[in-house]
Symmetry: C2
Subunit: 519 residues, 2 copies
């Protein structure tokens, strides 16, 4: 029922015309990469397949619809109630693959009305999933593999479920963890988090601490606050916020082994940093190693470098090498663009927590996947538009990826089903689908079929794990030339068609459009 | 469990410090209007209250968490399992109200740990809801009250649930209907929809029609196709796409009373428009009135005017006045900006169907609501930042809206709880919360309290209906000066504080920050 009304009204019209069971082929594809990029990660396949596996209308659904359309012939409701996907076949690119415009991510084959009905839901499951996975992959490219990326976007997501999808597909695209507890529990994603400003401001002074003790790593309860104050005096940092210091002590008493403090509530460099250092020194004396700090405002490049300097100095002064390696987490309004800019400036951040920009895909919040009928009853069909961009490539098609001798992907090729597929080492003319002047000969070293059958009335193979798909994403990125992946002016990675498909597309196009007449 | 991990880790730290039951006050507010505007519609209150009403951790939740944190003291799990909102009070602005930065949309009062735990989920419920409602209200302002606005965004929404929220809050903000069948069934929103390009391309010729008949409005089955072809010949439009004509006839056979055709599959003016006219003329002869057309590509201003010209001409030529009034629906990639631009150019569109830009809030996909602790144990607290924008206004506060003698809203005023509220006809000094030089005397003609208690351990009053909230939005917009609402350079509508609150805020600010020392 989570669909557009017109799917139902069309179904009735197909049924009235006796065409609902005609054999149809629908392609799901997009027309333009998101984020001014030249690659997109395909995601959402598992959710689509689960949806299709249990597709149908309940008696309650039928009741609602019947009330809405009392004029409709009553035998239609029997038909609608009997619909399932037993006669539907789905061919798809593997989840986690790099995909490009016009390559069908999924191809649906089956009864016209049933395939039509699936449109909206399938689109909503693929669009956002692929968008977030792609966005996440771009963040990973920005920071490289040595940094940790955390998704902290739950509170800014477009609805609770948007948040769940965001966590799942951000992880798939290359993030290391999430703050979202439910997503962690459901999808097995590592979960992380520390504390908020509220925790800090809730403490006013050391009197808010119910105990001044902490049990040391040997199991001995000892006076902890006094030791913190000792280091505070020794470092000459007695002007820092006392409420903040109390909150850090309270937090360390709860988490002596994993103490990580948010230091920007009052003043990062003049208060939070030193309060953290004093507590970390006392923890060290108690046999514990603090973890680090989080910066949530200000100039993150500058602040992280200043903090690292202090850590290095303290490490030396107190001869505690681990202090040099404290984790610095940064979190304030990060985006792919900011990550690149931080890299240019130099910084000492180890972990980036990305929220709004990642989950809402702020720089482009929707991927425009479409679902188009390309064949009915073995008859290819075409949708024309004044914008060549919006014309569909008709007929049942297969897709192949061609590689050069260095193992790099060269182009993706669409061929009409039943025509000869490309084979390694055999020279082949590849054409632009619409521009007659763009042609190239390719002799591929390797050829990969992009589609395989995932559903034939029922699932045909098991789903790979989320972790496996996540790995696939990184492997795919490694198989593409860097200039296709870069942020600024990436080189387009091209779609081609065979000569056969070029010709049949253009013949059908001409046959389908009236010639306008200007008098 | 749909929350950030750090809410749980903080709860444990509060509990360890014996502070979990301390009486706290949290404000939920935002810092900046979305869409470069000067107003925001508050939405999501009902969902927040429903969430709080049934808040708690199940035994399964506790099991998951216990496995994750095996070191934690075991009596903590008993405490966590016992948590509910029986001691929580929630004060809120009415849903559907215009709100401004820094006015608490909601104020939570109750045990520190419980109020803290609610943060993330409450934010996710308010952020997107308010954003979409505001976006929808802006679309309504762009087209005025005589046009119909439909939400067609399901397929491009950020996840299935994002789509449900989008439909609900777009309607609240001023849309007239949705394409989303499930949202219609759940929230009682009017649902609309016609057919897709797929339906058109699935027909190849008139032979695809199983019957050439249609039962006329008197119940008499008659030859319909022949009559359509008669008008086609009479109008001299025999060069149009025959497949498209067949699909329109098929659609009219299913929907003779509500026939509305998508005319841009091959060529709007040279094919679709005339195919529609021929079918509409035949329907008229059969006693039915066609509804209109949908345009989904091209220059919508130009195309709608050309179509209207043809409708007027045919209305005159065949003496059928209703033909002049065919509904023209437009749908391709519309946005608030495009709606304004169409208005400037002039057009003949009656109904706008808005998708991606509305539901993903493309021009600003997130509203930055925050949830800040402002008081613990009757002690106001403050969060400082180098950006004055990010400093919180401490303490328990009430908000009032002051109106001038014309009934227009003048400003919103925050006062400390327990200080004298503003009264009509009494002169009052209103201050900018942070800028010492900005002050104004106001003698309001009317004063409205913005907050009321919605939850006190349980709901305190029934929810208004979605329709009532929708009406409230339009009433609120009518009570604001137009220059606050306009699209380009709107006049800021200001937040003020009393002198008392100004002074107490700044005293606490100075007391909370160390003075940096430059040597």
């Amino acid at each position: 029922m989570l669909t557009d009304l017109y799917q139902i009204t069309m179904t009735y019209a197909y049924w009235k015309a006796g065409r609902h069971n005609e054999e149809s082929v629908f392609d799901l594809f997009f027309r333009k990469h998101p984020f001014q990029g030249e690659f997109t990660i395909f995601a959402g396949l598992e959710e689509v397949l689960r949806f299709v596996s249990s597709y149908g209308f309940s008696a309650d659904d039928i009741d609602i619809l019947r009330k809405k359309f009392p004029d409709w012939e009553s035998t239609f409701w029997d038909y609608l109630g009997s619909i399932d996907c037993k006669k539907v076949k789905i061919y798809a690119v593997d989840e986690g693959s790099i995909v490009i415009p016009r390559i069908p991510l999924l191809r649906f084959e089956g009864p016209l009305a049933v395939c039509q009905l699936l449109e909206t839901t399938v689109l909503v499951l693929v669009n956002y999933a692929s968008l977030v996975a792609t966005n996440a992959a771009r963040h990973r490219l920005a920071v490289g593999h040595s940094k940790t990326l955390l998704e902290f976007g739950l509170r800014r997501a477009q609805g609770p479920d948007g948040a769940m999808s965001a966590s799942r597909y951000a992880y798939m695209g290359g993030f290391d963890g999430t703050s979202n507890l439910k997503a962690s529990a459901m999808f097995g994603i590592p979960v992380q988090g520390t504390h908020a400003h509220s925790f800090v401001v809730s403490f006013n002074s050391l009197n808010d601490l119910p105990t001044r003790n902490l049990t040391d790593s040997q199991g001995e309860p000892r006076e902890f606050v006094e030791r913190v104050l000792y280091y505070r005096g020794k470092l000459g940092k007695t002007g820092t916020s006392q409420g903040e210091l109390a909150s850090f002590i309270g937090y360390a008493q709860a988490y002596p082994k994993t103490f990580l403090a948010l230091i920007d509530t009052y003043d990062s460099l003049d208060s939070g940093l030193w309060n953290f250092v004093c507590v970390a020194l006392a923890l060290h004396e108690f046999g514990y190693t603090a973890k680090g700090i989080r910066l949530d405002s200000g100039d993150l490049a500058y602040l992280s470098k200043e903090c690292r300097k202090v850590f290095l100095r303290i490490a030396e002064q107190f001869d505690i090498p681990s202090f040099a390696k404290f984790t610095i987490v940064a979190s304030n309004d990060l985006s792919e663009k900011v990550l690149w800019s931080l890299k240019e400036q130099g910084h000492e951040i180890d972990t980036f927590a990305v929220g709004t920009h990642l989950v809402t895909c702020r720089s482009q919040p929707a991927l425009g996947c479409v679902y188009k009928l390309v064949q009915v009853n073995d008859q290819p069909c075409i949708k024309i538009s004044h914008e060549a961009d919006k014309v569909t490539i008709p007929g049942r098609k297969e897709a192949y990826r061609l590689f050069n001798s260095s193992g790099e992907a060269v182009l993706d090729l669409l061929i009409s089903m039943g025509t000869t597929p490309p084979v390694p080492m055999k020279r082949l003319l590849c054409r632009h689908p619409f521009d007659a002047n763009k042609r190239v000969y390719v002799t591929p070293s390797k050829v990969e079929a992009l589609h395989s059958c995932w559903f034939d009335g029922a699932l045909t193979k098991p789903f790979p794990s989320l972790r496996a798909v996540r790995t696939r994403v990184q492997e795919q990125l490694a198989s593409f030339r860097e200039d296709h992946l870069r942020r600024l002016n990436p080189t387009p990675y091209k779609l081609s068609v065979t000569s056969d498909l070029y010709t049949s597309t253009h013949e059908l196009w001409l046959a389908s459009t009236p010639i306008a007449e200007i008098k």
